[in-house]
Subunit: 260 residues, 2 copies
């Protein structure tokens, strides 16, 4: 790797984790502290504000990801730049588009992707252990993936009985995709299949709901673009303490080997 000179910039694509600073990695904090320019969606930049003093901050709204990527690359030709994503930058985040645009641009910039706690893991941690074994991550946004393909994926994966994490489960632009996902789930999973709705996981105004595939319609209004939904697999079950519902457990299979 080339050593840094004063004329040479660098670009970090940084996953911030769920939102609160205590769930960021030390590496993410360090890279942001060392940046001259910080780019990102305003939602993600707000919790960072105390760290941004003296830096050039370029905040943007949703959309325009291609422009934002090109701007980050142009700045990184001479400066230390951090472009931030919520969660993990490599999962529905900025990493791929920045690397694609960089490849087209051809600039010889040092790049680092800093991983973060992705929404699947943040949400799961608030409701027990729903993803203990194999699982799949599917976005219900049909902005970049045709709805037909999303449906085909859901159908096949629910058929395997493994838990599925739904990113972007609903937004004003696509209010019906969640109902479609539920329909696919019902082709394969029983009505007692546990479902977790986690809104603002490990952020301000966090809310969690534990329900089942049979009763999901009742809770659908709670689902929005700040929500991650985990649909359990065929082995997942509600986790209780006495009569209190605490969350979801997907056993890893120790019960097939040990008595406890």
């Amino acid at each position: 790797m080339p050593s840094h000179t004063e004329n040479k910039g660098r670009l970090a694509i940084v996953g911030l984790g769920p939102g609160k600073r205590e769930y960021m990695t030390a590496r993410a904090l360090k890279v942001i502290a060392g940046a001259e320019y910080v780019l990102g969606h305003s939602t993600y930049l707000e919790p960072l504000e105390p760290l941004l003093t003296g830096k050039q901050v370029i905040s943007s709204s949703m959309g325009k990801e291609v422009d934002r990527a090109q701007q980050a690359i142009d700045l990184a030709k001479k400066h230390a730049v951090a472009i931030v994503s919520g969660g993990d930058a490599g999962v529905y985040g900025m990493a791929s588009i920045v690397l694609e645009v960089l490849e087209h641009d051809g600039a010889d910039i040092e790049v680092e992707v800093v991983p973060g706690v992705t929404a699947a893991n943040a949400a799961a941690s608030r409701v027990g252990s729903p993803l203990s074994g194999d699982f799949a991550v599917i976005s219900l946004s049909d902005l970049l993936t045709p709805l037909e393909i999303i449906g085909k994926r859901l159908e096949a994966i629910f058929g395997l009985g493994i838990p599925v994490v739904l990113y972007n489960p609903k937004s004003r632009g696509r209010p019906h995709n969640f109902a479609l996902a539920v329909e696919h789930a019902r082709h394969h999973l029983g009505k007692d299949t546990p479902i977790a709705i986690v809104r603002n996981a490990l952020r301000e105004n966090e809310e969690t709901i534990i329900t089942t595939l049979g009763e999901i319609e009742e809770h659908e209004p709670a689902i929005d673009m700040h929500t991650t939904v985990i649909i359990g697999g065929s082995e997942s079950r509600i986790w209780k303490r006495g009569d209190d519902v605490k969350g979801i457990i997907t056993p890893r299979g120790y019960h097939r080997k040990y008595v406890y």
Copy 2:
């Protein structure tokens, strides 16, 4: 939630991330700092050593997870206990077995699951952006899941053309499961499908190999129990700078909407 009294313990199930302390969250560090007892596999405890002064440390080898879970729960009836997992505690980690044993035990202990950067995201960050959209996480260990079921899952998911992250791709006890996964991949994916082999992601002695489904046999000896393997999907491609192979990009689909 009940307030703490001196007689009442608490239990944290903590994901440490890939290994180096700079990829832990501040929350994980804080919970470990506040624990009287820290339990975990010796591999995961070693990098924490400077934090463990003055604590009771109970280190164990692989296996005996059920006993370790019960021990953590018994201690947590009166003490502040942290039980640690590499990566995210909810993904092939200790969270599910601890919660299962706790449910059987019936003890009224306050429990917190602290999420971490899981191996899928740590490994992906070292090789570009291979998991940018939907993906699945499958373990090739047949210790707790029958091999037949693993094969069925692989066959269906490769058929969808989404990237697959293989955890536990090989160990001395199951040297042939990786070849089986490759066979399933070849039923659906072309020989140019990119594959990343990431050994010790974000730990000491990190190694990455970018290859293809057509040439994977050549690199199979590099795969061991410290390795995460990412098999790209139908849209994944090698990321190059000039003639240098830098990693893998799975485009999110912006190219279908924008020119860049």
